[in-house]
């Protein structure tokens, strides 16, 4: 069973809730090696996304990409900072690659690949530079493997979320060479990158809502 526009909207609303819960955690991570605004930035952005979804009603949105486009433009205009344009571009590219009514397992992979490509094309970060790329790149890899193994969309997203969470954890020992944390040099080691953590949260919300929607039980 594929993922449709209803899933996309539930995903985004769930993300807004999860970011609201994690606001303090993200802020604290960013306080350690950045400027302490990542939680507030994303919270402001996703609250605005929810408001936009509420006010426009769902009638005119029929494709998964329609929802992701609202996310893209709203994050772009409400978040600011580094994460605003990066997530904005990620959702923009993902929206363009999901202009369809249903997304299956390999469609999820295409969507995630587009998102990752959006982030790297704007931010020029590679794996290992202690950024959200360190969550998103392994997520794409794991999603590809899960899809190749014939998993359904919920399974593919679960694999992606797990890999993103592991990827975020794995940023702890890294020395940042992109973004604000790079200013700290060696002192950036020993802390998790806030953007990799928020990426994992977003993907976990995607997996959880996919499971709710498709009724698949965890393996």
């Amino acid at each position: 069973m594929g993922l449709d526009v209803a899933w996309a909207e539930r995903w985004v609303r769930r993300t807004a809730e999860r970011i609201a819960e994690a606001k303090g955690e993200l802020t604290e991570l960013d306080r350690q090696i950045g400027d302490g605004d990542h939680g507030e930035n994303l919270h402001r952005g996703f609250q605005a996304v929810v408001a936009k979804l509420d006010e426009s009603g769902g009638a005119e949105r029929t494709e998964v990409g329609d929802v992701l486009m609202v996310v893209a433009t709203t994050l772009m205009s409400k978040v600011g900072g580094a994460s605003g344009p990066l997530y904005g571009t990620a959702f923009l590219r993902a929206a363009k690659r999901s202009a369809r009514r249903e997304v299956d397992g390999s469609g999820v992979v295409v969507l995630l690949e587009a998102a990752l490509e959006g982030v790297t094309s704007r931010g020029k970060a590679e794996v290992g530079e202690k950024t959200m790329v360190d969550a998103l790149a392994p997520a794409v890899e794991a999603a590809t493997a899960a899809s190749d193994a014939g998993q359904d969309p919920a399974g593919v997203l679960r694999a992606a979320a797990e890999a993103a969470e592991a990827g975020a954890e794995a940023t702890v020992p890294l020395v940042a060479t992109k973004g604000r944390a790079s200013y700290l040099g060696e002192r950036s080691a020993g802390h998790m990158d806030p953007g990799s953590r928020s990426s994992a949260i977003i993907l976990r919300a995607a997996a959880d809502t996919a499971q709710d929607v498709t009724g698949t039980t965890a393996p």
């Binding site: 306080r31 605004d37 900072g81 605003g84 060479t177 790079s182």
Partner: protein, 331 residues
Amino acid sequence: MKKLLDDPAEAVVDSLGGFGLAHADLVTVHLDPVHVTRASGPVPGKVGVVSGGGAGHEPLHAGFVGDGMLDAAVPGAVFTSPTPDQILPAIQASDSGAGVLTIVKNYTGDVLNFETAVELAQAEGLQVASVLVNDDVAVEDSLYTAGRRGVAGTVAVEKIAGAAAARGDSLDDVAAVAERVVRGVRSMGVALTACTVPHVGRPSFDLGEDEIEIGIGIHGEPGRHRIPMGPASDITRRLVDPVADDLALEPGERVLLLVNGMGGTPLSELYVVYGRARELLEERAVTVSRSLVGNYVTSLEMQGASVTVLRLDDELETLWDAPVHTAALHW
């Protein structure tokens, strides 16, 4: 956290509201989306000069909007770069047909958001050039960082680019002189205390009663290293030496010396640092021919200071001396 604010989430807008009322002769504050333009509108035939960045650095940038400096400023949330939908109308409002220069401090967020806005403006047929300020020698400009940060040197870039635009230079020429300032300006800062972002409510880092942070930025981020508190002379040397070395100042050169407060340090201490910095430059046989001492590029209520040195020549001196009429800089 004790701050003279109502709702921390509205701090930027509330402050801009007061700013707009206090300086209605100079600026117009727009709230949707947030940006600040000159009250008198764009000057026919003049290149527009626009800057912006996260709030929390006041008087930067809105305090520099007015004759001889900026045509518009775009404040983001505290320490968060503004978004393209704020930047675009500021660019549009500053264009009189002669084109617009955007002055961007080198932070990933500012660069990405300004880039997008500039693309959008160019797509509308506007001529827009950009210059990136990266004066902070605390950060190495290498493959392993996001590049040097833009800090207090931004004041010099905005003043001199504004003066070049005011005298009628073309967009290319204004951009060129701004680039020349960027190449010749370096800064280094120290924090005695951290600052507290309103919606965070806790200090941005924890610093012992006898420790200071050397090589801080202007966003409450910790510095390059932590050392025990010492006398002003020693601290000033740690700021001046890397700046002068990085600029490779030669005996006989002349410079602008800017001692900038981070927001919570009294003016009297800034003058102590200024005196010491000047001695150190004079030991290198460098002449301080222009000076500025005060709180210009701040980090909320942080205690600390930065030293900025700009290599001068006749043209830059003339542009620095040119009249300026803004809320925060006036001569």
